[in-house]
């Protein structure tokens, strides 16, 4: 493959991966518990979230592979996972490497989800919240197509959709009482009209025993 084709492939697959990762983020953010009370197909959504993430990974793989194979610029295999070690644009390639590392962690733990404690899996999956902005920074920091207006438009759309999804999630999670929150509200003293008062019975030991 000519260097030019590889270069186009790197850029195209990179952009595709960014778009698909954004879609994955949005689908992952727009979930709540107790949503079925409103008839929302949560399982189907989770499935789509997973499958799109897999397609994103494929494009990401192509992006990474072609960038290493392209001899025009020098990016070693090591540089794609060890940040800031590439000789070509070491900072922004390094940012990409950070994003890739985070995504590998998220991906691998999701594959092994059944074998780990739910708490551990959740903690690692939260790294996705970090990897997405890092990937976006890499996309525009590399600068290759960042000047194109349509690319900028795509970037703006990505940011807007994730921001909207995040805002929705924060608002819904805050408004919808979790079990913990509902339970905490029970801590308040019951309504006055129930008139729960202390017993007037004498303490034990002070009474006649048969």
């Amino acid at each position: 493959m000519s260097s030019t084709s590889l270069w186009y492939a790197t850029r195209a697959s990179g952009l595709m991966a960014m778009i698909l990762l954004t879609l994955t983020m949005v689908l992952g953010l727009v979930t709540t518990t107790r949503a079925r009370a409103r008839n929302w197909p949560g399982f189907a959504q989770q499935e789509i979230h997973r499958r799109i993430s897999m397609i994103a990974v494929v494009f990401l793989g192509i992006h990474v592979l072609t960038s290493v194979l392209d001899t025009y610029v020098n990016i070693s295999w090591a540089a794609i996972v060890i940040p800031f070690t590439s000789s070509y644009k070491s900072f922004w390639v390094g940012v990409g490497a950070v994003a890739l590392d985070l995504m590998i962690a998220v991906f691998v733990t999701s594959l092994l989800r059944a074998r780990m404690r739910p708490g551990t899996w959740r903690a690692v999956h939260w790294l996705a919240y970090l990897s997405w902005p890092v990937a976006l920074a890499h996309t525009f920091g590399m600068g290759t197509d960042a000047g194109e207006s349509w690319v900028v438009a795509v970037g703006v759309l990505c940011v807007a959709s994730v921001a909207a999804a995040l805002a929705w999630r924060v608002r819904t999670a805050g408004r919808q009482s979790s079990v913990r929150a509902a339970h905490a509200s029970l801590a308040e003293v019951p309504p006055k009209h129930l008139a729960l008062t202390q017993s007037t019975a004498p303490p034990p030991g002070a009474r006649r025993v048969s």
Partner: protein, 430 residues
């Protein structure tokens, strides 16, 4: 009898837990020493298990689980665990365990030592809630007496979990030891032993242990001479409510519940009896002759539960009292399971509306649906208790239900409560 029993059988006549001396010396003089194994006495365990099985002793902490089976399960879990004396007594209307720990601590501790010897446990731990300082002091004094005179084969100690209704539930108590939070666990297999860390834990109610200590001394027959074949022995019952002499009495199992209530001299003919505690059930006058026994009570929609009988006078509204009970239970949820956390307040709300005469047309159907939905869907039996008491109220106070649903409340619906609730209500599990 124990293979190495002393010649005299010190306890004769009626079987009873209450009325014996409290101090260690008096206790030993009146009842003799606990028949613990001496050294590596062969055959002791088999003898003790056979006595316990023959007695038919069931737990007095609310579940009524056979003591011999619980011992077998704990023994199978291996040695080195602990026997936990459950003195938590979370039911506000119950005083029997407090009374036992103050008046007969040596009986309770003897029972724990006997179970420790039979299960291979290496310690005895008494759980007394924070805030019950007079009980704690009495237990500590008794433990000191025993330690001083070498009457504690395995070490005895006391712990002070928080004073919450759910903290006495046995899996919540075991969890508190490990995590400091009184949270019940989901135990679909009742046959598995409780654990604290890697060690087994045999959790038994204080009264059950007192019975163990008596039965080991007297043999099973004296215990069985009281009560019924299917529910033998005696039980401590706390009677409260609209009575002249509230207190703790010892009754034979199978005594008609009205006779139990009458021991406390009700102020007038009772409107209803609340049997088994706040998670128990109301029983109406047409069933006052029901024997105080597990099967008999179950047949009328109640449970023996914890030894509690509350007399409801005629000058208060049963629905209003039920609303208070369900609100209290809702606030005491451990907060782990959706059906309990959401369901109990919803049920409490429906019962309150009914009691206040603010029922909408769909209320009764909705309440029935919610009761059916919540029942059995928690990790522990806490929500089931609330369902029991609400359902029994609908049945026993049916006339009131009809009137209140139509908008006519009783004249005394707004009276203060005849029931006991703690003044400070805290919902936090930790």
């Amino acid at each position: 009898m124990s293979p190495n029993a002393s010649e005299t059988m010190p306890v004769t006549g009626r079987y009873r837990l209450l009325g014996h001396p409290t101090d260690l010396e008096g206790h030993l003089t009146a009842l003799g020493p606990a028949p613990l194994p001496s050294g590596r006495q062969r055959g002791w365990r088999e003898w003790f298990v056979s006595v316990l099985e023959a007695s038919g002793l069931a737990g007095r902490g609310g579940a009524g689980f056979p003591a011999a089976i619980k011992l077998a399960v704990a023994h199978a879990a291996g040695p080195g665990g602990t026997v936990v004396v459950n003195g938590m007594e979370g039911e506000p209307a119950s005083d029997k365990d407090k009374l036992l720990l103050i008046r007969a601590p040596h009986l309770v501790l003897d029972g724990a030592q006997l179970l420790a010897a039979a299960s291979g446990a290496r310690s005895v731990t008494v759980a007394v809630p924070q805030g019950r300082e007079h009980v704690a002091a009495a237990v500590l004094a008794a433990m000191a007496e025993r330690a001083r005179t070498a009457h504690a084969p395995v070490p005895e100690e006391m712990v002070r979990p928080p004073d919450r209704f759910i903290a006495g539930e046995e899996s919540a108590l075991a969890a508190w030891f490990e995590t400091g939070r009184s949270l019940p666990s989901f135990r679909p297999d009742k046959g598995t032993a409780l654990r604290i860390g890697r060690k087994g834990a045999l959790v038994q109610n204080a009264e059950t242990l007192a019975h163990v200590a008596m039965i080991a001394r007297t043999g099973p027959d004296l215990f069985r001479a009281h009560g019924l074949v299917e529910d033998p022995g005696t039980s401590l019952v706390t009677i409260s409510g609209s009575v002249e002499h509230p207190g703790v009495v010892e009754v034979d199992r199978g005594t008609p519940i009205i006779d139990v209530a009458n021991r406390a001299t009700p102020l007038g003919p009772p409107q209803a009896l609340l049997v088994g505690g706040y998670g128990g059930a109301w029983v109406g006058p047409d069933q006052f002759a029901t024997p105080y026994a597990s099967l008999s009570l179950r047949a009328v929609g109640a449970t023996a539960g914890v030894g509690i009988v509350i007399v409801l006078g005629r000058d208060v509204c049963g629905l209003m009292e039920t609303a208070r009970v369900v609100h209290y239970l809702a606030g005491q949820s451990a907060g782990q399971c959706g059906p309990c956390v959401y369901g109990l307040p919803a049920i409490a709300d429906d019962v309150t509306r009914l009691a206040r005469g603010h029922a909408d047309p769909g209320l009764l159907a909705r309440l029935e649906r919610r009761l059916a939905q919540v029942e059995g869907r928690g990790a522990c039996r806490h929500p089931d208790g609330a369902v029991n008491v609400a359902r029994s109220a609908l049945r026993v106070f049916a006339d009131d239900v009809r009137r209140h649903a139509a908008g006519t409340v009783c004249e005394h619906w707004n009276r203060g409560t005849q029931l006991r609730f703690p003044t400070v209500l805290r919902a936090a599990a930790s």
